[in-house]
Symmetry: C2
């Protein structure tokens, strides 16, 4: 199942291929995704910020996708918003650890999905350096829409997202 | 100068090549960057969130880079943190408009750079749909370090960034 989601990412998203992503492990609660520096380098020789945020976003997305699939649900999963902090440059191949944000729970997520065909979830992800210190963090919100509800729901969901987000102070 | 920065981005950042970025225009205050959907598509057939945030980040970065070069300064420019909102799916080739955040000014930025060899700046970027509505927004903070100060300054700057960011509430 892990290998299947990795294959789909690489098949469906050209940038995932360009970044040479790999899903290394998944234990139901967290997911570990890695990428080589060479494919993701910037003008300074360290990891490109766009690669770091992309890997962290896809690690969270893949975690949700795997848990949703395991539960037998058929959903489209969209990222809604995210905040990234770049704390230290990354000079080597890197990996990202994705997990639910504090206060989030899978049972609550699935309860909403079953009731309304749509559910939201916040996830966090970190990129660690070899010494265990944190190089980058991401906090992101996702929305899952049941595929049978997607055609009708995606516009409504995006309207809701737009409405909510425009009200958020920056 | 615009063409030169575009050439450097594509030469130095493999992911910029994979995204097929172009800097379309730059007028000193804002910068317009574009990318084709095909190279940046996701599993749903619309633009991949990682591409949207990467393009918006690089549009802001390129704006700062061009203004800094025009002023005759030689700096490394790092993204420090960013917040992205994905408001509507993007089903076509897309472009990003980068500009300073409200309350930011180039004179204040250069004053700090000249005094300390280091300066910070906040920039905003939007991706617009064909009908003029906003598909995605990015708000990001950058730090510029004079190259002659970089060797000594980058660790100090990253420490400062880390210290600040860990104190920011999410």
């Amino acid at each position: 199942m892990r290998a299947n989601v990795e294959r789909q990412l690489l098949a469906d998203i050209p940038l995932a291929r360009a970044m040479q992503l790999r899903i290394d492990s998944w234990n139901g609660d967290s997911l570990h995704m890695s990428a080589p520096l060479a494919a993701n380098v910037n003008d300074k020789g360290c990891a490109f910020g766009g690669s770091l945020v992309s890997v962290m976003t896809l690690a969270c997305w893949s975690l949700i996708r795997l848990v949703v699939e395991q539960a037998g649900e058929d959903c489209d999963i969209y990222v809604q918003d995210s905040t990234v902090r770049y704390l230290a440059p990354v000079w080597n191949d890197f990996s990202a650890d994705a997990h639910l944000a504090p206060g989030q729970s899978w049972p609550a997520f699935f309860k909403a999905l079953q009731a309304r065909g749509k559910s939201r979830l916040s996830a966090h992800c970190e990129i660690l350096l070899a010494d265990g210190s944190i190089a980058s963090t991401l906090a992101a919100r996702f929305v899952a829409l049941r595929r049978d509800a997607t055609a009708a729901g995606v516009d409504a969901a995006q309207s809701t997202i737009a409405g909510q987000s425009r009200g958020v102070a920056r």
